[in-house]
Every structure is written in C-alpha cells, then in structure tokens.
Symmetry: none
Subunit: 422 residues, 2 copies
C-alpha cells in the first residue's frame, strides 16, 4: 500500500475568519483532493496576519506533504501572502516576465490603466514555480521545499476568488499533483435513506457494518428526516474498488431497501422527477402551511416542466374552496387541518391541474396558530393518484422552518412511494 | 482596554473535511463570537480521528482562551468526540441523570423506542458542565481547564447539527461567555439597500465614509441584488455607542434613501409583510419560472396568512389559461415570456385570489430553454394593484438558482415600491 499523501488546506482572510463571507473554497478543494486520493487531514482559516500565517505554515509542513493556501494575493495592502512566503522560505521576490506580460494584456484588453500595485502581482518569491492564471491577474505558485527529514513538502498558493481558484486547480494543480505522487484510489458510495432514525438504522445494519473490511469505512450523515450512509473505499485498483463498493451496497440493501430512495447525489426532488418521467406521469401540488416550498423544491430541478404542471398555494380557506373545490361544509365541520380537507385538496389539485398525481399539505407550521386539539406541528399530507388517495398525519415540533422542510420531505417521499406502487 | 479574548473554532467530521457537506456552522459561530467582542484567531476542520482531535486540542489551548468544538456527538460508532475529550482531560465518563431524562422524554414524546446507543448520549466526561439541549438528544458540554500558566481555557463541545448548535449557542453558550469574560461592547447597525450596485453606492457615500470616526467601521456586504451596509462600533458605553450609530445612520440616509428598504434583520419579505399590513392590503402571487420560490419567501414570515391569500404556480401554459385567465391568443402571439403575458398573469391572480395586489414572474431560468430572441435569463416581472400594473424586463445570467433568487428579490422590491406609491 502506497504511503498516504496528506494535505492541509489553509484559507487566508479576515472576512472568512470573522464569518462575513461564506467560504466555499475549502469544501470544493476538499472534494477534489479526495477524488484524486489525497487525504486531507486538516482545513484551517487564519486572518490577514503575517504571524498567524507563518505559525500555521510552520505547523503544517510537519503534518502534511501538500499544503494548499488560498487568498491574500490581491493587489491591495492587506494582501500579504507572497511577502509572508518570502519570509517563510527566506528568499527575495523576483519579477516574472511571463506573469507581467499576462497582467499587462489583461488590463489592455479591458482598456484599463495599470498601477504599480497591479504590476507587483507579477513578482514571485524566488523559489516559486510559476503557475499561469488565465482567469485573473494573480499567478498561482508551486513550491517544493525540503522538510528536513529527507522528504519534500509541496506548497501551493492560489487566489481566493473561487472562479480563479477552481480553474487553476482543475487545469493546473490537480494534474500536477497526480504527476508528482503515486496516489491511491479513494471512492465513495452514498446510500440515501428516509423515514428511519439514525440509531435504528445503525442497529439494523450493525452486523453488516462490523463485517466491513478494514479498507472500507462507513459514516452516517443525518439531515432533516433523511440519513445518508457513506461508504468510503481506499485501494490501488479502481475497478476492484468499484466492484467492492457495489458488493457491499448489494449486501446491505435487503436490510434497508424500503427506506432507500436514491444514491450518491440523488435528491428526493430529482428522484421523484425521474420516477414521474419513467412512468409518464404528471404532478400538481396544493400547499397550505408549506406556502410554496414544496413546489420550489420540485422546480429546482432543470427540466421539471416536463412533468410538473403547477400548484395552488391555498393559504386561505377561500382559496381552498374557490381554486381546489374543497367543500365549505368540510372546512366548517372539520377545519383546514384535517384528513377530510387534505384528501379534498390532493384530489382537487389533481383535477384542477389535470395531472396523474396530486399532493397536498395542510397544517400548523407555527410558531402561532396552535390549539389544544391541534398544536403547532400538526400537519396533514396526502397523495392522490388514479389508484387511490393516501393521507398521513405528522406530529412535528414547534419550529416553523423545520416544520416546513420536514413536511416537504415527507410529502415528496409519500409521492415517491405511491409512484412506485403504480 | 480589556485583554482580547481569543477563540478557536474546530469542526469535527470527515464529511466536512472531505467536502461532502457544506460547513455553515463555522461562519455562523464566527459572526456570533465577533458580535460579542471575542476575537477568532483560527478556524479548523479535522476528521473523525482521535489523534487528529487530540493534536489540535493540544495546540489550540496554547493559542486561545476559548475553544469551540462542533460535531462527533451523535449516537453512532463514528461519533468519538466525547471519548476523545475523556482521553484529553484524563477523566472517565459519568451518566448525567438530567440528560438521560431529557433523551428518554424526547423518544417517548415521539412514540419511539430508545436504544442503548441513545442512552449513551447522556454520558459525559466527568469534568464537563452539562449544557442542556432542548432541541436534540446530545447535550452540550462546557469545560474549564487550567492551561498551566495560571490561566483557564474554556472548551465548549456542541452537536454539529446546525439547528441544535445555533440554539445552544444563542440560548446557553453566548450568554455564559458574556458572564465569564469582561468583553468590549460591539454593536452593529445594518442598512439594507437594493437596486444600486456596490461601487456606485460607495461613490455616493464616499465623503460620509471617510468622515467616520476610527472606532466605527463600515463594511459592504453585497448579496443577490442587495447591498448591506454594516456599521460596527466598538467601545465601553453601550448607550453612547447606540447614539453614535443612530447619528451616523441619520447622516447617510438622505444620500441613499430611495434604495433603503430596511434595517438590521429586515428581509424584503418581512418589510413587504409589514407594509401590506399597515395599508390593509392583501397579496396573491402568480409564478412561472420561480416555481413557488417567491411564495415560499412570503410564507417564511410567521403571521403572513394575515395578508397573503395564495398563489398559482402556473408552470405550464394550460394552467396560465385555466387558472389565471391568460388568453390563449396572447400566449400564442407573444409567448409565455412577454410583457403581454406577465401583465395578464399579475392581473389574473389579483382577480383569482380577490386581493389588493397581484405579482407575477415568467421567464427562462435555465440552463435550457433559451432561444436567440429570448436567451436564458430573460425574465418578466409585474405588479398589479387597483392603481395600475407595472411590468419590468430582467436580463439575468445563465445560472438557474441565481436567476430564481434574483427574480424573487426584484419582484418583491417592485411590490414594495408599488405599496409605498398607494
């Protein structure tokens, strides 16, 4: 087994540290490094402070073979990464002519004047390998530095702008890393379950989990009524690894089949879209307490207009009567949050939209509106198809946002199960 | 000036390190700590590895007075934070009866059975102060540990689930930190603008910005068609700081009044809700390309049922005709994405819902569906009231999610301006 190549990812920038902007870079880099078999051991964010940067570089090189640094390469005063790298490596700056030509061309093409600060972006620490940036003005840099124990450490410095960083990584850095190291193959398989709590799932698959070979790990990733099971396999033969992951998946599926709605990046709304398409079915949605959220999930999926006709968000009872044909008697006898009403809403929208399936939600999302009979979190969902109408009562908590998201998850899963029953 | 209290934030979890889920916790915690005057010096992510966790704790306590750790507190085998903390502090585990009662109650209330793994969530390292978690089953933990140099280091361990972590931080941890340390007063005032680009805004308020006293900073936070101006004042007298912030706000408002839609946490949907309520107006929504997203924004606001009647998500042309009364001739002559159609949709939903105002969206969200005449990003919006119907053509980019969000922002702002004109 090849020695694992370890990497640390460091972002430089006060605005990330203080939480003012969302750091999307480290997640993206994490995925990409994992995909080529490099093991990330740590991700860190430090501020625009020379001492903080020097300190973390001093630590990191003892712990990793690859260090990726993003940020601090802009043309203004608080961009100090390069100067700090010069201090760290004990070298001076050298102007790189190719970089200068690129920066100059960038400004000429846009008819803008260049300042000395801009020209300074072409200066690099003397020991840097120049990595050409065709998507911005700050070059990437690659350093190979002796760790002092006979091993080299690779330092990679990239701009923090996500668009530039991603292009540099994809086109220059990742290939260079693959050429530099003999890397193991790491592959994931995600099994997406719904309708079973994490600890019940764990009990059910315990024997299978304990029997996993040492090079295959399992992680549980719970999120809003769903639990993702992530299998990670490491090795040197990608065909073998793919086969092993498929075998392990086949072994666990019978234990949990009923709860599995998809794999890898399948979201409920994409799975539902695929099933509707496969069965040549169309969908209409009636929403009360979810207020448009369920429809928005369905329409996140490009191409959803092929199976989704439309929705009625019947926030008031008048609209339930006028647009969905719910009878006023049902509403006055049983109320909006009742099995009778939800059944009428699901069947009503199926009729109004002329679709194969109609789903509906009606409940008390909170924080107000609850009564002793029907407290906050009381939600009815239903799914009407040519076969039948199924209804279900959910007893959720008191948080509005959570209640809306969970209701959407459960009604889409109900739809999924009904489509599979057709 | 009081000694700055430094904090490090550590997330534990392979899935964050490998990039499989988005880490939203550290950004949120960063903002909250900054808001109470604690200086974050580093943020790190490590995997579910005992050695990696021990190593970073050993480093961090030398660099910070507060260490916040999230993740690894679930009931399954890969949740190792508590065991690792026992090893780190050299203590054993003790079952906490209050925690056990809470976990038991959590399962009973949901009519679900508890496993030993669940009961194990009530076990805590012997030196932990129990932090009650009313939003999940894993208790928070607070440790006070001698650093060996006469100073204490506070270690805080919280679940990684964002919903639970935020409630624990807001309700328990942040107040406890404020009671533990003498912290400087930091106050923010947020001015929320829309319809003006960041650099134009900066030019307009440049003289005012340059004249700000040194203890008041300004940050520009652009996001999806809006720019938030955040004033941050630091000091020791909160009444004085509040007065200074109010004065500076009064000074800048005349320069940008037209573009200011709210302050602090006002979202467009809350501001719109307030205006509709003040003017005794009601709202109906017709959505095509935004597919339910605009309605979901309106209904995120508790109490929106007081002014929001409902929506028609007319994803297909049939539904535009049947439910909104758009004439088939208009659709065949001008197409769904046209001024004629959007006007008919806004007026149609106003009629169908019986409301004071109707807003509508129709466009090509992408990535498919564009033509040379109407490329991806071509979106019409409209607002119909008793006074008049206004329409507007947006020319957006090629990214579906972005287009949906921007369209929602612009149509809600159009509604806001029309209500103010009533």
């Amino acid at each position: 087994m090849t020695n694992t190549i370890r990497a640390e990812v460091i972002t430089i920038g006060d605005e990330i540290l203080f939480g003012q902007i969302t750091d999307t870079n480290t997640q993206w880099i994490g995925t990409e490094l994992t995909n080529i078999g490099i093991r990330i051991t740590r991700k860190s964010s430090v501020g625009d402070q020379t001492d903080a940067i020097l300190q973390i570089l001093n630590e990191a090189h003892q712990r990793a073979e690859v260090i990726i640094i993003t940020g601090g390469l802009g043309p203004t005063k608080d961009d100090i990464t390069k100067k700090t790298l010069c201090t760290y490596f004990g070298v001076g700056m050298v102007r790189n002519e190719t970089a200068l030509a690129l920066v100059t061309g960038f400004f000429e093409k846009r008819g803008r004047e260049m300042t000395d600060l801009n020209r300074g972006q072409a200066d690099l620490p003397a020991n840097a390998q120049y990595i050409q940036n065709d998507w911005g003005t700050a070059p990437g840099m690659w350093f190979e530095h002796d760790r002092g124990d006979g091993r080299q450490c690779i330092y990679i410095s990239l701009p923090g702008v996500p668009f530039e960083m991603k292009h540099l990584m994809t086109n220059r850095i990742l290939p260079k890393l693959q050429n530099t190291f003999a890397l193991p193959i790491i592959r994931h398989k995600m099994i997406r379950t719904i309708g079973i709590g994490e600890s019940f799932l764990a009990e059910r698959i315990e024997a299978w989990e304990d029997a996993l070979p040492s090079h295959i790990k399992l992680a549980y990733l719970p999120h809003f009524g769903q639990v993702r099971l992530r299998l990670t396999a490491t090795g040197t033969d990608d065909a073998l690894i793919d086969r092993e992951l498929a075998e392990q998946t086949a072994l666990v599926m019978p234990l949990i089949q009923k709860h599995v709605f998809g794999f890898d990046n399948d979201e409920l709304e994409t799975v539902v879209g695929r099933l509707l398409t496969d069965k040549n079915m169309t969908l209409g949605i009636a929403e009360s307490c979810t207020g448009g959220y369920v429809s928005a999930q369905i329409t996140k999926v490009p191409g959803s207009s092929a199976y989704f006709q439309g929705s009625i968000v019947s926030y008031s009872n008048d609209v339930k009567v006028k647009q969905l044909g719910v009878s006023p008697e049902i509403l006055s006898q049983h109320g909006a949050v009742s099995e009778e009403t939800i059944r009428a809403m699901a069947e009503g929208v199926r009729h109004a939209m002329g679709t194969s399936a109609g789903i509906a939600t009606s409940g008390i999302a909170g924080p107000d509106g609850g009564t002793p009979d029907k407290p906050v979190g009381t939600v009815w969902i239903a799914c009407a198809t040519a076969n039948r109408t199924v209804t279900r009562l959910l007893t959720l908590g008191q948080y509005r946002d959570q209640n809306i998201q969970l209701t959407a998850t459960y009604v889409l899963n109900m739809l999924r199960e009904e489509i599979l029953n057709q």
